[in-house]
Symmetry: C2
Subunit: 416 residues, 2 copies
């Protein structure tokens, strides 16, 4: 893409009411736009990142056999009353509204209820189980405060997977499979080294749930990390009793702030019982379906990655989710440099490599470098009178101090 065509521009300042680093950098880079507190638009560059994260998560959800579907935001009050989660006294972050035709509806905070209800039409026999479904869907949560940028939105994109099993043993086996998939996801997204599977409050059906926590001072949670075992404990369950149960040595733990980027939860029959989702076993008995839920905050991940992988100049996108592979800068309003830069853009794009080409006129080298650092695309390719004299383009990684001259014919293999 030619940057001269891109309608967004970088900004020196984010809105004055924006206190989070993630939103500040993303707004300044033209990745997102703040509509209201906790409500953001994804602009072309930001949507590319969001879609790249979505694709990584989708591939891993497909790999565990998840079947993708898409449910609506509008929620039928009657279904939520059956599980006693409609009342504002029970769930305090509903957005509710009224149908002109009469009746109240809510905006989905999550989808256990409607999905359990839906499955009563498709599950009847033990032969129908087990399976899992997932979606990428915008959730709505009426947060009192929204000061963490896109890490705690009032409207945000979530991946939610739900599993349906015959019993706890079958559920547990799938639950472990999802643990493996989540590990792969955070590794592929470039934050595997900062992200810990974290023991958190369970419920009636399991002693613990598992959160995926990414270490960052911007996090809202406190966790205790056992670096050797590669796991952590959420403060909410951090007791001597739990440590003993998990065989963890308290003296080895390190306290950190962290961002919850995912969670997996054993729902058991919490929803299937009130909503009467049951199957008939081989003996002809009716048994409630045993369920699990597995969330990943996709738009929150954009924020978490910016919070953890950025420096004082701007964002540093991991390769797998960067909006472009390379950022070509044509320097100095030099006609030859501009022609060569656009040629290089066309060549790489023709090979299926996503490149952004800064062919804007009237900007100094310093301004273009600063924009490239702010945008944080993995490779920067400078095309200037000097680089051409030296026989090619000056290429460097976003994280490198100095670039090196790479010849035109070697550029593809260099950045691939």
């Amino acid at each position: 893409m030619l940057q001269s065509n891109l309608f967004t521009k970088t900004k020196k300042e984010a809105p004055s009411d924006e206190v989070s680093k993630n939103a500040e950098l993303l707004i300044r880079g033209g990745y997102i736009h703040k509509e209201m507190a906790g409500v953001y638009s994804f602009l072309p560059l930001g949507l590319r990142v969001l879609n790249n994260i979505t694709q990584v998560v989708r591939e891993e959800m497909n790999a565990v056999g998840g079947q993708e579907l898409h449910m609506p935001a509008l929620q039928d009050k009657n279904v939520w009353e059956k599980t006693d989660r409609w009342d504002d006294a029970k769930v305090d972050n509903w957005f509710k509204t009224n149908l002109k035709a009469g009746g109240e509806v809510g905006l989905g905070i999550t989808h256990e209820e409607p999905l359990t209800q839906l499955m009563t039409e498709y599950i009847s026999s033990y032969k129908d189980l087990p399976f899992s479904v997932y979606q990428f869907q915008n959730k709505f949560r009426n947060e009192m405060r929204a000061k963490s940028g896109i890490m705690r939105g009032r409207e945000f994109l979530m991946k939610d997977l739900y599993s349906f099993s015959k019993d706890k043993a079958e559920h547990d086996a799938f639950y472990d499979v999802v643990k493996g998939a989540y590990k792969k996801i955070y590794t592929r997204l470039g934050i595997g080294h900062l992200t810990y599977m974290t023991f958190a409050s369970g419920g009636i059906f399991a002693p613990f749930s598992h959160e995926y926590q990414t270490v960052s001072p911007a996090g809202e949670d406190t966790i205790y990390i056992d670096e050797e075992k590669g796991i952590a404990i959420n403060k909410e369950v951090y007791t001597d009793e739990v440590l003993a149960e998990l065989g963890i040595d308290k003296t080895k733990l390190k306290e950190e702030r962290a961002i919850e980027v995912g969670n997996i939860f054993t729902l058991g029959t919490r929803f299937s019982e009130p909503l009467e989702l049951a199957y008939t076993n081989a003996e002809g008995e009716k048994i409630p379906v045993f369920m699990g839920s597995y969330g990943i905050g996709v738009s929150r991940l954009v924020g978490a990655i910016v919070e953890t992988l950025s420096d004082d100049k701007g964002i540093i996108w991991p390769d797998a989710i960067a909006p472009f592979r390379a950022h070509i800068l044509a320097l100095g309003d030099n006609a030859e440099a501009h022609t060569k830069a656009v040629e290089l853009h066309d060549m790489l794009a023709g090979q299926g490599i996503d490149v952004l080409c800064d062919n804007r006129l009237g900007l100094s080298a310093g301004e273009k470098f600063a924009d490239a650092d702010l945008l944080g695309i993995p490779y920067r390719i400078v095309v200037s009178e000097r680089s051409l004299k030296e026989g090619g383009y000056e290429v460097k990684r976003r994280t490198e101090e100095k670039g090196k001259i790479v010849k035109a014919e070697e550029i593809t293999s260099f950045i691939k």
Copy 2:
């Protein structure tokens, strides 16, 4: 995909309150699930169709230079008050709700207002224009009645493109480019032969808007078609004066019911003036930006295609948007047929061809044929004891009466 793994099943009946053919067939096929009147989930097969339509539309929007973004559903009341479209007396299909933190918000019926507001941060000079942006985004409309299945939803997926131009001449040129893109889209979607560019009410800035109307008795609109010219007139502007203006001979027109599957509209400065979206021209004068909007109801299209391309046995998906290319049926619980069917599935899937393989046990040939007809996948490939004896598989198009035997090694080229 193996049909034995698919959690959805076909149904003999749709919900009794469902009166539209599109929803009836889509629900019976397991493509969609009705949550409430006018509110549907897209199940795995339905989501595949929706995504395929989305991809066709996206490619054509990219081809006209549209930059994709994504705006939220939650709407800031203040912005809509500036254009006088917040008041229920002016716009009668808002869903409105309250922030816990105080203040009222709406659910986006469309996005002219927030997008115009957003662009005030990015457009300042004539050098920034022209350009266009688009999104695939769920709109919410509080319809009094919702009896047309997914053709008039309370929550539905729309593609909306918006253009920003310096003046009417620049706008008109782009408007014509979009006309060309729309023609391509409906052709690619398989309803080009039924879809007419239709003159409809304009506004202050243009004598007409243009709708894209697909002929169907299920349509809510009445249009008058000039078959020779390949255009139509909406009843709302069907006057002798307009006919004369367009040079159309009244005696040649044919009256039809039709479904509006898209519309393009000259907005002019209707939004840029109240929201102060202006640019500075070369002479230093402030000029309001000249805008256009271009909608396509993506989920409505799923319904419109089912309404127009189906027979008494079920759906007939056009190739470009079918959930799968071929539907392999293993007949008769014959072990060899089942093994061969799954082998064929794996081979075609390995070649990147999307296939559904009905490997379910305990169903008669008649039941499997009926399901295949209902689902409407372009090619049906029967693997049975008989077909194997005859040297291959019996392949037929969904619309053909009889199939023919195709050898294993010729199957890929046959269905490609």
